[in-house]
Amino acid sequence: MTPPKLAHPPFTDEEYAKVEVLLGHPPNPIEQAIFAVLWSEHCSYKSSKRHLKRFSTEGDRVIQGPGENAGVVDIGDGWVAVFKIESHNHPSYIEPYQGAATGVGGIIRDILAMGARPVALLNSLRFGPLSQSKNRYLFEQVVAGISGYGNCIGVPTVGGEVYFNDCYANNPLVNVFCLGVAKREEIVRSAASGVGNPVLYVGAKTGRDGIHGATMASAALDPTTSTRHNVQVGDPFTAKLLIEGCLEIIQSGHVVGMQDMGAAGLAGAASEMAARGGCGMILDLSKIPLREAGMASEEIMISESQERMLIVVRKGGEAAVSEICQKWGLNRAVIGEVVEAPFLTVMDGEKEIVRISTAALTSEAPLYDRPIAAPRFHEIIQSLNVEALMLPKSYTDVLRQLLLSPTLTSKEWIYQQFDYMVQTNTVAGPGGGAALIRLKGSDRALAMTVDGNGTYCLLHPYQGGAITVAEAMRNLVCVGARPIALTDGLNFGNPEQPETMWQMALCIEGMADAAREFAIPVVSGNVSLYNESKGLGVYPTPIVGMVGLVDQIAQRMTPGFKRPGEPIVLLGETLEEIGGSAYLKVIHHQERGFPPILNFGREKAVCQLVLEAIRQGLLSSAQDCAEGGWMVALAEACLLSSPPMGGVVAVDAGDVRLDAYLFGESQSRVLVSVPAESLDRLKQLAHEAEVPFYHLGTTDGDRLQVRLTKTGETIIDLTIEEMREKYRSGLGIAMANKRGMT
């Protein structure tokens, strides 16, 4: 049987020439395959690296910043949190169930490779409008894939976010965040070391799935060719065995270094481990457990078959490690050893088939300073003639429509398919604000959130990037958590287009500036480029996964109202900011204008105020204002109240248009409810922090009513029951296609 011929690796002429120089001869097929995956955008960050340097990666709690399988931060008492976000965008379009499932599997192994037990998953999803059947199919299958994999491995999916927009129709985004915890001294690095130490292969056998996955993920999607064989196939049962097996192997004390064989497969894991350790590695392909006969050497080297780990073990520890693998039913084989000379040498039995310097594959990979140019359409989409927008006839109807829109409506349809309770640590799961995971045996809890807003980033990449960080921070603060670190998931279009590079550079600048201002280090991240199809790129969509710490879990905060008769207060300033809002899109069908402006100082003041108020026990509830403005935040506070309760508020919009006042998305605002006796104290704190304080009304009854202060006219009046019905049915209706909506 002749092995199938690999597609020509996507080198530029210059890159090909550089490979030739580094090797000293024209690359043979296996060398080409190895260079192609390691020099791919996914592995080398060749277009993004110089921009990523803007991120501030240091902080008192940071134990491991970017450059490893995941970031590590100190969470006290000798424990650390290990986390990262990763994308699986292209596979999820080609084969949505497996693409999303293996997206979960991939990030789980990154956390596991650091020696941490995965304890929480979150996801950030983007699809085209659900009015189109193909988008419904992709959405349904992606959710099913995450469900099928995450539920089986016993790691709770505790939160996430999803948006629907035309720009994602041919290139959905599937980003998965995973967090693990470990004892500080049990953290494992991925550097190989110790000449003569054996290299172990542990996990599933190697097959032909996912060949050139990393290369595919680094090129635009071509809808005319079949790339299904590039997608990996997941086996969550084996993943569960791999988690338990690897954690036991680490406990055995024999491990020197560990890395998962994910993107770029064995070639990637071996060369990166060797390069990090400043040594070399010799591998024997004939020792590798294979799923099928007749695989070509290059296929074995770059297969992205799932559920596999490469482990460097202290010499003499092989037998003990092998025994643990046997217990968990995992394939294992000693496939090579660590050598001094910094080369990746691949043997097939006695025959040497490849010898490449590890530096050539890693540090010598091309780096680009790609041209940057603002898109021509930029000024056009930033302009918005607010006067031309008709004021709504019924604000009640606006709220109804917003609560039904797939982007704002309850995500119960999604998260009900995820096991968010397994491990019995989920203090706050999906459906509220940030997720909270308790740390058994301590008073502390970890808060986490994923956030992104592609529309803001399209309209103003710098503001959009900065807001992404601020929004994540505000979400954490509203559950009473101090933010400690973040991971970035950068999703952009084709970096060879100067307009994409402009978007990426500015988004990163905005994120980096915000993170630095807020003193939140960036400890890990992922870059996904070429998110385009048929020449159309997705909106620039950076995602932030942020982690915070709650010192006293008894002091955690929740978004829903608690008691009737309590004052409702809006902290923060409402400006006439309607550009890029959900209101503008859902009601006026426009995505344009200037997004809200973030004032770093004000944001910090609001967040510190909320944390201090929670610490002093002044608040009953806290809800961040984001899409849909404070009006939607108020509706959510009613919907999440227990027992169910409404509220009566009176507003004076002042100089601001009423629709912008109610539904605009001014930043740095938090809606809180307060026991009456604490109102003055909160007001005093807000005054000291120079944070505007608006006593809007009172929690009460079974309706949400909004009146104008001046005229007394009721402009919004909805029963909680109707709101609940709308809010909970939005996604179900869209999936049943009774009404096509975006």
Partner: protein, 233 residues
């Protein structure tokens, strides 16, 4: 009392159950690996926890019934020992023939994770003795195959012998299709065998064992069980 928690390679609620029995209820526990041939003699109660036993790519629990440990669990049950199957454990017990009926894919075709209301149908069994008959409790469910089926004749026998322990219901205790999350026949959420020493349920009592996590209704299932002493073999 010593609880023996069976661990299949794909079990993922084993440590959660252990936490409930050891930390919350302060009882002794012991894990029983799926390769062990018998139930250790110091075990008073065998618990089959939730998860995905051997991956459950086939019908859930269909492979687990052939595992070495199940031979021991069957013998333990036949000798009168108490066996409790939760979620995947219930599926394994049904596949093993220790409990009647079958668990099919949820009516929606989707995995469902949420808290549901359950009505206590019979409090004359060891695990329901702490509840009132007709009492409504809240426990989480998390499963893809929890749609209980039993043929009408066998079902009437279940009813007659009082083997239905829990039914899905509304907050007020009414039976309705809307309150039945998976399409189970007769709204059945949990049953026991005729001898009342083998119990199976789709809901997860171990997930309702801490006020911090939203409820403690699951604890009473075992508290009452401890006071009644269970059934020693």
């Amino acid at each position: 009392m010593r609880f023996g928690i069976v661990v299949f390679p794909g079990s993922n609620c084993d440590t959660d159950c252990n936490d409930l029995f050891s930390r919350v209820l302060r009882q002794e526990t012991r894990f029983i690996w799926h390769g062990e041939k018998g139930v250790p003699s110091d075990v008073d109660v065998v618990v089959l926890p939730g998860g995905f036993s051997y991956g459950d790519y086939l019908r859930a629990g269909a492979l687990a019934r052939f595992s070495p440990v199940m031979t021991g669990v069957k013998a333990f049950a036949e000798a009168g020992g108490t066996v409790i199957g939760i979620c995947n454990g219930f599926q394994v017990l049904v596949e093993s023939g220790l409990l009647p009926g079958a668990l099919r894919q949820n009516k929606s075709g989707q995995f469902i994770c949420k808290s549901v209301f359950l009505r206590i149908e019979n409090n004359q069994a060891a695990i329901t003795a702490g509840y009132q008959k007709g009492q409504v409790i809240s426990l989480p469910i998390a499963h893809g195959e929890g749609n209980y089926y039993i043929d009408p004749l066998a079902c009437s026998r279940l009813i007659e012998k009082g083997q239905i322990l829990f039914r899905y219901c509304t907050q007020e205790g009414a039976l309705s299709d809307a309150a039945n999350p998976n399409g189970s026949v007769e709204h059945i959420a949990g049953i026991c065998n005729e001898r009342r020493n083998v119990f199976g349920m789709m809901p997860h009592p171990e997930r309702a064992s801490d006020r911090l996590l939203g409820g403690t209704d699951g604890v009473r299932m075992f508290q009452s069980f401890l006071t009644t002493g269970g059934l020693r073999r």
